[in-house]
Symmetry: C2
Subunit: 171 residues, 2 copies
Amino acid sequence: MQTIGQLVKKSGLSRSTLLYYDKLKLLSPSGRSAANYRLYTPEDTQRLAQILLYREAGISLENIAVLLDAQDSQLSAILEQRLEALNLEMNEIRRQQQLLLQLLGTSSPLRSSKLMNKQQWIAILSASGMDEAAMRNWHIEFEKKLPLVHSDFLHSLGIDPEEMAAIKAYR
Amino acid sequence: MQTIGQLVKKSGLSRSTLLYYDKLKLLSPSGRSAANYRLYTPEDTQRLAQILLYREAGISLENIAVLLDAQDSQLSAILEQRLEALNLEMNEIRRQQQLLLQLLGTSSPLRSSKLMNKQQWIAILSASGMDEAAMRNWHIEFEKKLPLVHSDFLHSLGIDPEEMAAIKAYR
DNA sequence: GTGAAGCTATAGTCAGGTCAAGGATTAGAT
DNA sequence: ATCTAATCCTTGACCTGACTATAGCTTCAC
């Protein structure tokens, strides 16, 4: 049994945060002392550890509450939903990166250090000994094994949808 | 000269948004009618187009205001700063993805369709005709040409910092 | 008996808006 | 010329999510 202050120290969270979690019914202490102090049991502490883990993965407090009070089926549903959301975010970031590079123009030194484009990728593959046929094979394999990831990758090179369709049509 | 309603139609923004931009002094109409209606000139419209472009790149309204009223040096500084921020976001997303995959365990079908790991990448390279020496070369080339991107890529495969250091030490 | 730690309840923070109240003006139809 | 509907104005509150802060009170430990 720990008071809120002790849990603050152990968890690294602020007192306000723990109060907030209690208000959300995300983490309510199992007991109260005679003076109405919150008393957290070891199970509560363990629940908090779970909460923090899921929070690390960017899951909303609301969904964490659902996760923790529900079954496994809901669990993986929510985790997969979060993965899906991350995928969308990733695409949005790539889009913004491409746009920013365009806006910066060819002049900036950043262009060649932080992001890769199609030419650079091809140059790397060539330099490491791949010829055109091998690259074609590589696309085919990539598409066969992980089509979604392949799309993402091509997208990240700044390849537009048209060209992507052409690449994916390789046989 | 257009009234706010006309600009709403042309721009696709809501009236409230235009009012909000005016309040922020991000886009203030150059004139007012006798009845105190906002009157947007073609230059205002053009400024709005710029605003929307930068907004697409995820730049905050505050920074857009700075951009538009400042010189080129500030411009690229802000754009590069935004690129840097996107890089951080990207890393955070990757971290969350890896964590989620761990939480989902090996059981989920998603594991093999939305994200790539080291084994899968190696399998693709092998299947497209690369041998171990070629892969080594590929790392060396990648590291030489785009070290930052190389790191990001390895990271995205779920490769931990230790192994990454080993790979980057190839000569 | 005093100072730290606890309690509840309410309010504020951030970005990027959205919405509503209450009143003035304008355009189109009669 | 008049009525009505649409459009315009300003000011200020409200929204989401995850907290953080403050006020005013009680209780505990030394």
